[in-house]
Subunit: 361 residues, 2 copies
């Protein structure tokens, strides 16, 4: 039986294990606390300081989140067990490197300027009428990002470096979940449409037609010599794609694959990193999700959601609720794109009570 | 959070929990040994002698197998927590009662004679040119069943009572997985085709068209005042259905719902017994399974199975392999019925090496 170590015990680790629980795999997880969601379905739980035993007792090590204690990643990498590799993480750890990598590899992205400190921001922001300043390290889900318009530098306490990106007037945002194996085989789900709100994914649905997405994803994964599932987000401008960012792991915009597909992104990732065979994911229906952010559903809300046809509820079992924290999601399917969209709106109405300026986000 | 107690820790309990792991449910399991498959995904594990604490700490109690220690079932029933009810189990515990119940409720079944002991078998078997003698208690997966032809009574050591059934020259066997809620709402998956070998399900595929199946299932579930998922098997003779038997639980012939459906039989059961809302299951693709019986797959077999498009592998993680023991199954999907059938044959070839008289069964 193959032994897979997953660094991190959040919802992505939980769903990796749940979706692959009946493959012949022994699942180890490395966590900070034993009450993290993935612990209840794992075979063995290790606390972070035991990272060496965790790696030593795993054939392959992957991660459910790239912003984790570096020791386990580096030790796993030194043992040649880490999938995907350190390169994909290094790029994510520093947005400056990520952006330069895109440019060097002919991967389409928006205009940007790299600033090594706060001082140099003043000049850089003048290059774009409006834009977003992003801290190079540590940001995700809209954290460490500052929108600006005109020449006024927003209040920032971080020391830099920063990436200043021109604000892209995109038509919409889209994602593709793709996958590459050790032998260089490439697979992908069909792209999906993202609805973001205050820098967080609120809902997502697919499939949509974006041939280019698959081509760009393949180029990216080949360039990094990537193994496993990767989430890639685009701005779509007049039918052209610009990479917004990527996540070197299973991704929130791929949760819709939990329904109506021949395989979910989670099982696909597990199979890819462990070297099990894979075939092209097939989509049998239109699928989408609505994220449950910053709240626990009450039983009335649960009931109203489950009354909607072709819905499934995913509650991550986190012990603490916080504003902007992802607590779960609702999966929704339909043969009809229109019905799917209506159901997504209905679910959003139930969770967020139709409040335009959602206080939970 | 609702607390569900599952009596039994086998693969059916495992899949109930895996498929519903992200619903807001606390799962208790009652088992003989802590190494049973369901234990690794449950929230709390109780050993059989602790059945009272198990029931007391559960809001609702269900079971993954009807042939279990009676104490837990009866105590749960006395607390009004058992779903489905004792009636459905009593009928299964005695085939004589089951057959009489079918007759009394106008549910179509083959000709049968009830014999209270071995002595009376001699006369009864003369009524049918060929048939099967079934022990009234304890039989499943072909156990306690004796085929005969002519007037020769097969060697039987059990004391009886027995049901003697006329051998039905059926065209094929089919199943329907249906579900009823406390409010009497009725739902079902589309029927599926069963391939049996030596009294065990070898493969299964669907959907097939059998309007009658849903009508008969509804009548049966209403007659028992049933709550939860029930598996119902038919002989199909010239397009007419005769009930072969039912299982008051999730059933092997419903494992195909793990792929290509809006919900699996396992989540449907959990939602039904806990009183969560349900909508009609929708099938998005043709789906089927092949059972893995009496063997552990080697890594080459695993690889060859996973190379087939649209397949998923379920290994139950049982610690001991025995002849005729279900060790796992392969789920297979396709938009095309023909391709599905070919893939099922391919999987059977990989597992059983094309041996006609399968030594594993």
């Amino acid at each position: 039986m193959k032994r897979l170590g997953i660094i991190g015990g959040g919802q992505l680790g939980l769903m990796m294990i749940v979706e692959s629980r009946c493959l012949p795999v022994h699942f180890n997880v490395l966590v900070v606390n034993r009450d993290e969601p993935a612990c209840k379905v794992a075979d063995s739980v290790y606390l972070v300081d035991d990272y060496k035993a965790f790696v030593d007792n795993s054939d392959i090590v992957t991660f459910e989140f790239e912003h984790v204690d570096a020791r386990a990643l580096e030790y796993a990498s030194s043992q040649n067990k880490l999938r995907p590799n350190m390169k994909s993480i290094s790029l994510k750890r520093q947005r400056t490197l990520e952006k330069q990598f895109f440019t060097e590899n002919g991967l389409p992205t928006g205009k940007f300027i790299i600033c090594k400190d706060r001082e140099s921001l003043k000049g850089a922001i003048k290059s774009f009428e409006s834009g977003v300043i992003k801290e190079s390290t540590g940001g995700y889900d809209g954290k460490g990002q500052y929108y600006y318009s005109g020449n006024k530098v927003p209040e920032i306490t971080a020391p830099g470096p920063f990436v200043v990106e021109e604000f892209v007037r995109y038509d919409y945002e889209a994602s593709i979940i793709s996958c590459r194996t050790e032998n260089g085989e490439f697979f992908s789900f069909k792209p999906s449409y993202n609805e973001n709100f205050k820098g967080m994914l609120l809902s997502n649905k697919g499939p949509i037609n974006l041939e280019q997405a698959r081509i760009i994803a393949r180029k990216l994964l080949d360039s990094i010599d990537y193994i496993g599932v990767l989430g890639l987000e685009f701005f779509v401008v007049n039918g052209q794609l610009l990479i917004n960012e990527f996540a070197p792991r299973v991704h929130n915009s791929g949760h819709h694959t939990l329904m109506g597909n021949s395989i979910s992104q989670f099982e696909l990732h597990v199979r890819a990193v462990l070297g099990f065979s894979i075939s092209e994911p097939i989509s049998y229906a239109n699928t989408g999700i609505v994220n449950i952010i910053g709240k626990i559903l009450n039983s009335g809300e649960v009931e109203r959601i489950l009354q909607i046809p072709e819905t499934r509820l995913y509650i991550y079992g986190k012990t603490e609720t916080r504003k902007r924290r992802k607590m779960g999601h609702v999966c929704i399917s339909s043969d009809s794109k229109d019905i799917l969209s209506r159901r997504i709106d209905e679910v959003k109405g139930i969770i967020y009570h139709g409040e335009r300026e959602n206080p939970l986000l």
